[in-house]
Symmetry: C3
Subunit: 425 residues, 3 copies
């Protein structure tokens, strides 16, 4: 089962992946290998010539290599992308393999393509992309926005569709990021605009385009079961705990990284209490729900990313614009202000108030790119040969995964099978 079925609307769906998935994976991986061979080289701090250069530049110790400033944060971010986002999405009762496994697949492809796309825009010298630990972090960030979009379409797409989506979303992400950071000279350390706002509205647009009118057929599979919620808590906690690393990973060395980590730690702690308060208020007996996220928009946003990323991303962007506009030398110090907003070179005369305006423009650009890009990519994903599952196969691992036989018979909704009815004593 799983290969050819008639959907609710009567249209035959071919979800047979045997030739399509290997073809896309191998084609793209070959492209990556060739492009890496042609374009990618080591950053000076990761290159075998660093010893010599270090002596020239009078750097006294190996410990000043950027690796030691950023590698611990990088690993935390890496865990967030693969374990955090992967397990966050395991709450669906029959979609654990898809959640963790597809996230693993598209993220692994996405970071390669992001290294190239971001490399061409940001670390391209003499025809070569020079990569160091900061590039790895940025690639993970970029893929984070795809993980966010994945939350909206979770359970409704084939792995081939996801790989196609990743190719386009990473490309658009890099363009949007270039416009914001380089052209508008916007500051977006935690990624409110480039990651959350862009990723969430992109995903919401795609899921709107892919709207399935008869999806309630598989409504029973959209719930969680006891252990699937515990797996989802692993993801939730890793995203929560490592967020200080996410926000400080590419901040400036020294006090800036330190400050970003402290701020994130404190804000996240306070969010837990607020979330619990509202989760309890919204349930009629005041019981808590897990995970604490729900969508009321009816645009088939599986994981509720509107509340989780879209709104917070917008709020973060707006607060950032206001804070920038209100920044004074009194609070930051002269040196501090310059280094916080990088008011150097072409931007040495930019005033905080003007910076606030550019930050606001950054939000608008991100929204526009996300909605327009999401609409186009959503349309592309409707191409029939990409193998999307029929409505009744959504939220079900069995279509694309070899599911252990035993577990099917113990599956919880099989337990409701009237054939296995309780015997009256």
């Amino acid at each position: 089962m799983g290969s050819e079925r008639v959907s609710g609307s009567g249209m035959a769906k071919n979800t047979h992946m045997r030739w399509r998935l290997p073809f896309v994976c191998l084609l793209w991986e070959v492209a990556m290998v060739v492009l890496f061979g042609v374009f990618v080289r080591f950053d000076p701090e990761a290159d075998a010539h660093w010893k010599a250069e270090q002596q020239q530049q009078n750097v006294t110790s190996d410990i000043e290599n950027d690796f030691y400033f950023r590698y611990p944060s990088f690993q935390d971010v890496h865990v967030m992308i693969f374990v955090g986002f992967g397990f966050l999405m395991t709450f669906l009762q029959r979609y654990g393999f898809g959640a963790v496994g597809f996230n693993f697949l598209f993220a692994a492809f996405g970071i390669q393509w992001a290294l190239l796309m971001q490399g061409w825009f940001h670390s391209f010298e003499n025809g070569k992309i020079l990569i160091g630990v900061e590039n790895l972090i940025n690639a993970d960030f970029c893929v984070g926005s795809v993980c966010i979009a994945f939350g909206a379409i979770l359970g409704k797409t084939s792995p081939v569709q996801l790989l196609v989506l990743t190719l386009f979303q990473v490309t658009l992400f890099a363009v949007n990021e270039y416009i914001l950071l380089n052209l508008l000279h916007v500051k977006d350390a935690g990624g409110s605009m480039t990651i959350h706002t862009f990723g969430a509205y992109f995903g919401l647009t795609v899921t709107r385009i892919l709207y399935r009118p008869n999806l309630d057929q598989s409504k029973d599979k959209q719930g969680s079961v006891y252990h699937s919620d515990l797996f989802a808590m692993i993801g939730t906690l890793y995203l929560w705990m490592y967020w200080p690393s996410f926000n400080s990973a590419i901040s400036n060395h020294g006090d800036a990284q330190h400050r970003a980590a402290i701020n994130t730690y404190c804000s996240l702690a306070s969010c837990v209490l607020t979330t619990v308060a509202f989760s309890s208020l919204l349930q009629k007996k005041g019981k808590l729900d897990m995970p604490f996220l729900e969508s009321k928009l009816h645009i088939q946003d599986t994981c509720g990313i509107h509340n989780l990323h879209a709104m917070p991303g917008l709020i973060g962007g707006i607060v950032g614009a206001v804070t920038a506009a209100a920044a004074t030398e009194e609070v930051y110090g002269k040196e501090g202000l310059i280094s916080a907003f990088d008011f150097t070179g072409d931007y040495q005369d930019r005033m905080p108030s003007v910076q606030g305006g550019f930050q606001a423009a950054g939000i608008c650009v991100s929204l526009a790119m996300a909605v327009a890009g999401g609409a186009i990519v959503g349309a592309i994903l409707k191409l029939p040969f990409l193998g999307d599952p029929a409505d009744e196969n959504c939220f079900e691992d069995d279509v694309f995964w070899e599911v252990p036989e035993d577990s099917e018979s113990s599956s919880l909704y099989h337990m409701h099978d009237p054939a296995l009815k309780p015997v009256t004593p």
Copy 2:
């Protein structure tokens, strides 16, 4: 179900949380926001003025910011508090949400309150609390002692009771810590006294005060099931693996951090073999039990914290006192001895033998604070409006959590329901 029930003793219990829990959460979070606004500022190393100060103090590189000495250890400690302690307690078959979720809730509140309490005692300057990465670690440590106490009362309290307990325990922790570290000038790097001894005896006293004579009604729920034990192993392993970070996180820079990590690594490895040996010896066929902890005290210590924290904490404290008393310049070197015990300023003439006496006094103070404090807090927790569950609802997520419907029908003790009896062929 779950909102109003008659307990074994005939007293009606109201566990309806809809107004109480949001009220407490929001009240306390508002208080936190106000207090943080008034009191909390960045430590000089996390402040935007650091660049300027760095130049004055002739610090050559950003890498000498305390952030780089302690942040990796901080993140490990953070994982121990939220994933380690949270999942450690998931061994109960129907209390996984309560274990992970309540731990998440009170720890997130506790670290905010701890930043303030410990800040007033230890990093208060010109009317402001200055926070940096070391404060974050200390806040996590303080909350660690609440996690330990939680182990004793696991499954028997409402979230409101837990938030009240956290408020008081964090307060007492900070006072006790101040007496030990500042007044007695005691060394307690791994927290034997301030964290383990204090936390465990506090929790044991509270659970004694909350004693429920008819608790065996829910005895069947106090066991584990196969997968709940595997979730508990995630917690166990993270606590075990990251303990070297816990013990070295706030040691002095350099050799002291290095040494603390090595010592902890070696001791923990040897403990595994000893634990397995005794676990096997105590079972009649030599089978191993998981998790490896059990209580024989009959004071309703759910998670067996007497063996896990109380005894080891005491032993650690005593060994620390003896080692301090026996420390010599021969082993530590003159510089090493001064830096290990901080024999400077007012304490420059204190001898190792005298230090041993003060360490012993520290153990006594911790014990007294724990027992007296635990008795008072236990009495407060008996107030009827805090929403404690009836005896037959203990160790059961369903009272305070929205539990997925499907999973109830698959719940293991439902399987034993005589109505679903096997059909004779």
Copy 3:
């Protein structure tokens, strides 16, 4: 049940561990304590005299202590050994406790014995083994090779057999490593030869020697169930995510660590796509399988380590030899080449091409040690008093672990019990 059974071949098996397991654990732990007391001391950078020495050597900052170069990577490696390998092996439906618990037990013993064995060979000065953070990483690496071998015999041995195996394998590992690194002056940063090739062929030889002709009796238990596969994904992801730390942990300070991390990050990302492609190609409907490993060799290699470690280890070794032989000053720079291959002292005149030859010799030595050692250790493990389980008890936690009663009745293959058959409506 579980203590005395008649196996398929009619031979009685005594798996009663009550005296044997505690005896071995305590005997070995006492030996460790004595040997550590006699031999182990702190490395100068972890010793309390470091402050003084630092001043002499004109080291300006505590941050230059090796601890800060390597501790974050060490913790990642530590997580790989205990959570990564432990959970990777939980895919068997009834062997989760054995997978995580036995891995925990033998790895905790192994790291102690490895600290001693590797210490005698590599950091022995004036009759003492001096240990610092690099020794901890090397001990974890050594134990990693035992974890690999464990994959081949998973489910078929008693804990006493595993402790005996660990004692011998760690010893042989240290000898092999000494021959390669010190006598042949081979470079093996990622451990292709010393860890993967040695560990895998050792394990494969042992499982060949322990061949059980009637093992298909427990074939039904060799499969996975839905949630066991998700637990295995935790292990898989942690091994995958932290591999950059594994490969860079003991590289030279500075650019070498940086480069090793980047290379590993990129290679691992590309492997995911290739693996998914082949996994899909090999299934008739193109569905994906989890975990992505399988053995076709029929030598009872439970976890498929031949594909996972043996072949990649060999390939890595060969590629290493070729790359070394082809290294030029053009690519590495003069300084870079010397520092990459440590062409100093006795080796200052060694040419890259000669180095390639020695690397190839290293592969052969590793293979020979693994096969010869594995054959001898396999024979030792056949000794009847080591408590190996009967064929029908293989892959079953119940023999050596106290398994929660409830879970047995819900166990999936019990569900197939014809006694609990569906009622025709």
